[in-house]
């Protein structure tokens, strides 16, 4: 008896029921088959992923000591790693190491990647018709370095896709050669990314790898207004000495934005001689310059050398205390944060303000005290004092209780 006849018997000769039953059986079979395929795919790819991960980790462990030591047997170890873990894992490790390390070893890594054929493979990807493949290829080339990768990145910096051009510029900066830096800057200037975050990221990387070129770019006045500000801030963030000269030239500028940037930069790279300039800026007519000065003092009081820090503590406390009653919230908040870094004099000033009737100053002071780096016993004393000021008791005002919780 065939399967159809059996269905017909079971359905009592009703043809419609037979068709439905056969349909259900066929669909169930398809679903089962697909489930098996998906399960098998999952098992295989998961195994492959774990294997790739193992190879990558094994190659990292093998190569890292040779890379940091710039060892003479690096090339030999790379060959061993390729045999044990495959080219893909070794190339990924070398590319990342070239990104993380500085010094003569990076040229050897680039040469090794070229010899392995990794650069050739990525150059092909960077010429793909698909944008996502070009992006991946160009990003990879940016991690490889070397003449061949650089030539491909120069071509990619003129790509039709903005994302590819951006990846190419980042890659050229990672290359760190004068030619690559020059092309990256040119490409950036004629094709300014619309997002400030991307521009900031470019300047930050440029400051890290080619501070001289960035300094020349600022001095050439090719950057206007906001761009100059971002570039100068990046130089200051990177702690480059040229940032100090550029900031000093702008600290008395008629443009308030320039003054604010210069003061912020002085807070990062300035010494004892620049301290009076920062303190004077606490009295600037523009609120954002005053806020920048308070922030710069916070930097100085946190990160500067001991002598500069103690001088800042001696001179800045009273002026910062005055800023706690400034009409701008940003100035009050920044001043309170700076005072929180000014040792016992600053903490005492904040506690005094926390007892005042000015509720804006009081809030700024209490918030800053909560974040202040205090020794455990001082913290307890401050906590008790703030609780007595805010009159915190169990089960009473929620807002006040939150203030107390800051010190828990």
């Amino acid at each position: 008896m065939s399967l159809i006849e059996w269905f017909r018997t079971m359905a009592g000769g009703n043809d419609a029921l037979v068709v439905i039953a056969i349909g259900v059986v066929i669909l169930t079979a398809i679903v089962l088959a697909l489930s098996i395929v998906v399960l098998a795919h999952h098992v295989i790819t998961d195994r492959q992923r774990r294997l790739n991960r193992q190879r990558f980790e094994s190659a990292s462990v093998l190569l890292a000591p040779r890379l940091v030591a710039d060892s003479p047997d690096l090339e030999k170890t790379v060959e061993v790693a390729r045999t044990q873990n495959g080219d893909r894992a070794v190339a990924l490790v070398l590319r990342r190491a070239r990104y993380d390390l500085s010094g003569p070893v990076v040229d050897r890594i680039s040469a090794t990647l070229e010899r392995m054929g990794e650069v050739e493979k990525l150059v092909k990807e960077s010429q793909s018709r698909r944008e996502w493949r070009r992006i991946a290829g160009v990003r990879g080339l940016g991690e490889c370095g070397g003449a061949k990768a650089r030539a491909a990145l120069v071509v990619a910096s003129k790509d039709v896709s903005g994302e590819v051009r951006r990846a190419a510029r980042e890659g050229l900066l990672n290359d760190r050669s004068p030619e690559a830096i020059r092309v990256a800057i040119q490409s950036f200037l004629i094709d300014l990314p619309r997002r400030a975050g991307w521009r900031r990221s470019f300047y930050a990387r440029l400051a890290a790898v080619a501070a001289e070129e960035l300094t020349e770019l600022i001095e050439s006045r090719q950057l206007q207004g906001g761009e100059e500000k971002l570039a100068l801030e990046a130089l200051g963030d990177a702690g480059r000495p040229s940032a100090l000269t550029l900031a000093l030239a702008r600290v008395a500028s008629a443009d308030a934005e320039s003054r604010a940037t210069a003061i912020r930069v002085l807070g990062k790279v300035g010494g004892p001689r620049e301290l009076p300039l920062i303190i004077d800026a606490l009295d600037d007519s523009e609120w954002f310059v005053r806020a920048a000065a308070a922030r710069a003092l916070e930097w100085t009081l946190t990160l500067a050398e001991n002598d500069v820090r103690s001088e800042a503590q001696d001179h800045a406390c009273r002026r910062l205390e005055r800023c706690l009653t400034d009409r701008s919230w940003w100035v009050r908040a920044n001043a309170a944060r700076a005072l929180a870094r000014a040792g016992s004099a600053g903490v005492e000033a904040l506690l005094a303000v926390a007892e005042s009737n000015d509720r804006y100053a009081r809030d700024a002071a209490i918030a800053a005290l909560a974040m202040a780096p205090l020794a455990a016993d001082v913290r307890q004393t401050v906590r008790r004092k703030v609780e007595s000021i805010t009159n915190v008791a169990p089960f009473v005002p929620v807002a006040a209780r939150r203030r107390g919780d800051l010190f828990a």
Binding site: F56, E57, S60, V61, A64, P65, L67, V68, A69, L92, V93, R96, A97, Y99, D100, L101, S102, G103, V106, R200, S201, Y203, A204, R205, A207, A208, V209, A234, G236, D237, A238, G239, K268, E298, W299, T302, L303, A340, R341, M371, A372, P373, A376
Partner: protein
């Protein structure tokens, strides 16, 4: 456990989410004569500090689970010697990190010998005397 009165180098814990970067930092420290271990999440780092009773930490401020800054808050009471690792453009994180106990910073990309010199300056006076 060292011989009484002898100064022994502490185990340094590295908190870095990228596996290769973590291995490079560990290898640099080992080349400088230290024992170093790496964790790729904040939870790993806390476990490693407890396990090795370490008082020196190299921490990438971009670490995840919990994040670098959150981890610093957790570890604040332990009085560790901490070097912060930042990428270019992250200098703004430094004051907060410094106020949470980070003693010095270095930026990627790094020169291994400079890094070990910085580490030597930091830990020279913090060797544990058993």
């Amino acid at each position: 456990m060292g011989i009484a009165g002898r100064r022994s180098k502490p185990t340094i814990v590295v908190g870095e989410s990228n596996f290769v970067t973590a291995r490079l930092l560990v290898a640099s420290l080992q080349a400088g004569g230290w024992t170093a271990v790496a964790g790729t999440t904040g939870e790993d780092v806390v476990a490693l500090i407890d396990k090795h009773a370490s008082n020196v930490l190299v921490l990438n401020l971009n670490l995840m689970q919990p994040g670098g800054i959150a981890l610093l808050r957790i570890l604040q009471s332990r009085r560790l010697k901490i070097i912060g690792v930042t990428n270019s453009g992250q200098a703004d994180m430094r004051p907060l990190a410094a106020s949470l106990g980070v003693s010095s910073f270095f930026e990627l990309p790094f020169v291994p010998s400079d890094f070990t010199t910085q580490m030597r300056n930091l830990v020279e006076h913090s060797y544990v005397t058993h």
